[in-house]
Symmetry: C2
């Protein structure tokens, strides 16, 4: 059964005095009003970590009571930072099954009331346990990915800095036009460079902010002008070090393949997209993983203005999570709400895109290990559908899109210490609760080809470390420690003996 969208709602994102359930009720009532509904058959609620952020469990039931809809089925859905998209997917299947006629998808998070170090600690629980022990955070992992991307595609530190700044500047510029955005101010390259270093080379302006907010959508089996064309959902290894690549996300590629297959579309059919930009570089990588641009070339499209609001393929017209804000549970659904506004032509004269008949949202869960891709389309859009195409996601070939090909790696055994190559590193300044700033962290590849996370208590400046260089690798108090292989370190080693 086809699934349509009959209503959407959003709160303004930012710092809110309202309780989480009050924000969610506000978004829900807009959605219900648009859909002209008083009741729905079920509610699918996306909250990422309501237990630790606000101290409640059984939140799905609490919410239905707050909405005055007591009695209705209510289910909480969670897929880490892609939760809003995960709740949308669960609601989609409920309607697609024919068992539900109208479903309310509701997503939100309340985060700004806690100290930043506590929020950082809570968000870090989405990281693989063995890596989390090092005090690594999402920005630190994203920083190491950025370093690796620059090395792999021969971008100098200055060039990388410039590209990252361009993402932030573009998304802030778009956010200015979005009444729901947390930040509605333009930023300049100078502002970017003045913003504090969070985890080298990522600055505050490379990271989505901490935000309160909620978004809502009504899914229905009754035809409306907007249809759900495709949904894809895929996972990757919990540990970043077990991945085949540090510069792309397999889970985005696989989710995109599934979504394109269900929709019977190819990347070039997409007119605009909301791409998960919790960290600036993730937008660039996203546009490559989605098959819009070749690997290592996403930044060129940005430089050429292709992904700008008036470009050929606008990315994050909403301002993205960078400027709209990032209430972790809500963001995945907020992306889809923006797509609906654009498809309806309701984004406001300045933000409204010229071509807006089909849009895509890509949402990242954790460090890219629970990702969803969703495609929404105007029903009056003209296209020729293949007759009798299967629904089981067969037949679509990613071979036409080399950037999307997924590689697999077998799970490694615990690697030995000795000498290894420093694959990538970061210096983390904004540490989680219980750790001392700064923390130098890196991924080291051993002679056996295994990659381990390691810390470095001595070097606290990016200038002292070089990717691709040999380092010593030891085990100290259960953690891997890496050190430069300098004459002095060899001497120190020899003196200790």
């Amino acid at each position: 059964m086809d699934v349509y969208i009959s209503g959407v709602g959003m709160t303004k994102f930012g710092r809110s005095k309202d309780s989480l359930e009050k924000m969610m009720a506000e978004a829900a009532s807009s959605g219900l009003e648009e859909a002209q509904l008083k009741r729905v058959d079920a509610i699918y609620t996306g909250v990422m970590n309501v237990e630790e952020f606000v101290g409640d469990s059984n939140f799905a039931a609490l919410l239905v009571d707050t909405l005055g809809l007591t009695g209705i089925a209510s289910t909480r859905v969670e897929t880490a930072s892609s939760t809003g998209a995960g709740a949308f997917e669960a609601g989609f299947y409920a309607v697609a099954s024919g068992h539900m006629k109208h479903v309310l998808v509701l997503a939100g998070e309340k985060m700004t009331h806690l100290p930043t170090a506590k929020t950082t600690r809570i968000l870090s629980e989405a990281i693989d346990r063995s890596e989390r022990r090092y005090g690594v955070t999402m920005p630190a992992l994203a920083a190491m990915i950025a370093q690796k991307y620059a090395r792999e595609f021969n971008l100098s530190p200055l060039k990388l800095e410039d590209i990252l700044a361009q993402v932030a500047i573009k998304n802030h510029s778009n956010g200015c036009l979005n009444p729901y955005a947390q930040f509605r101010k333009m930023i300049t390259k100078e502002d970017y460079l003045k913003s504090q270093m969070v985890s080298y080379p990522l600055r505050l302006y490379d990271c989505a902010p901490i935000t309160d907010g909620a978004s809502a959508m009504i899914l229905t089996s009754e035809p409306t002008p907007i249809k759900v064309s495709g949904i894809g959902h895929a996972t990757d290894t919990a540990a970043a070090r077990h991945r085949t690549s540090f510069t792309s996300f397999n889970s985005t590629k696989e989710a995109a393949q599934k979504a394109y297959t269900m929709a019977q579309l190819k990347p070039s059919d997409i007119q605009f997209a909301e791409v998960h930009d919790a960290f600036t570089l993730f937008e660039i990588i996203g546009t490559e993983d989605l098959g819009f641009f070749s690997a290592g070339e996403g930044w060129k499209a940005l430089e050429e203005g292709i992904t700008h609001l008036r470009g050929r393929l606008p990315i994050n017209p909403s301002g993205g999570s960078k400027a709209r804000g990032h209430p972790v549970g809500a963001s995945g659904l907020a992306q889809l709400v923006e797509i609906v506004y654009q498809l309806r032509g309701e984004a406001g004269t300045e933000r409204q895109l010229e071509r807006a008949e089909i849009g895509l949202a890509q949402s990242i869960g954790g460090l890219g290990n629970n990702n969803l891709v969703t495609i929404l389309e105007r029903t009056d859009r003209k296209r020729i559908l293949k007759v009798g195409a299967t629904r089981f996601q067969e037949g679509w070939s990613p071979e036409d899109h080399p950037a999307m090909s997924v590689s697999k790696k077998s799970s490694p055994s615990p690697p030995p210490t000795g000498v290894g190559i420093l694959e990538t590193f970061t210096i983390l300044y904004a540490v989680p609760e219980g750790f001392r700033s700064p923390l130098t962290l890196g991924f080291v590849k051993t002679k056996e080809g295994e990659v381990v996370m390691a810390c470095n208590p001595d070097d606290r400046s990016p200038k002292e470390l070089k990717m691709g260089k040999k380092v010593s690798l030891k085990m100290r108090e259960g953690l891997y420690v890496f050190e430069k292989l300098t004459l002095w370190s060899r001497l120190k080693h020899w003196i200790k003996k």
Copy 2:
């Protein structure tokens, strides 16, 4: 599209040294082996509070990695203590939509590693915030429901005690025959009476234990001998005091109506059931809410042996959560696994029921505010289906089952203090972290007809309090406090003035 079951799996419930993901992987591999599958299209993971019990978020992705199925879509679903049934429901819609062929539903919880007071505090987060401030726990609320049930249906304290003991004795007796059960020992009335008081009148043997465990099920669109016939899901007010009844659960009644309607069945068609017995009396109330027996008569069916293993309508052949154990996220799915074992005739010679062609599971989320009812059936069972019956849950009339009729109550305004009637009370001995034992708690109905939760710092013996008597109601440090209206208390009140 119809949905079938092609494989199930369980760990032994109890105290486990394994990590949560390891237990879940064990249950999953049994399920996959039975279904002869190496991969599935998606995983639906039910965990109630993995954030606070084990300190992880992004658990759905971690799990798929542990299973060696990296890449597959993975979604976490949560509906409080009915989570296992909630995950089953989400998986059901995914397959019923035609978009998924094979889905793994996986549910579990790890609880025994934490101190009991911490576990009690975590579980209490499922209770309405305004009631939770009093230190009220799930056993305390269940105890007040038991007191009210006894009063409403004219059962003396001794009679109530005897009925509750009979539930515990029956379920322990069934649990003896279940190789997956946490407790495999018979208990006597004497054992029951010797067990410690948790919250008057409920003893340790009235409460499901704290348990580690996992259960798994494979849902498929390919016909197998067992079919999902009906699913219903409904909510109720977060606050117990806002309910119309303290002696039945509207959410069970509504969920049951939906499930019977989808299955085109009536209560008398059900041959056996797994009924949520986190507290002994809940089994009795459940059998009434499900339409098996009239309100206030469920205990008679138990006394007459009707709900015993060899009775006409066996309830909890698995031993229920009382004896099988209650890993909160897993229980809702474990009930369904037991039904599959019975439908297949694989429950073992001693536990196997004679009539096992159609079974029902009822699972309670929170204090009965997020409940699910699921009906499974052998496909070779002969029955005449109504032709052209609607799928939108219309047309089924609960009028034939007066016990199932649902009443509604409007949301109240904050009530005044003064004099009220003590509706029900308990004395809670096993208090959550941060509270001092014992706590005397009650629900008081004001002259205006509103019900409030209140505490009583003076009276610590059940003999000093009587339901239905007038009490004084004051506000002290933001909490309602009730006191007996004795001559002495009136005098005290007068002296203070």
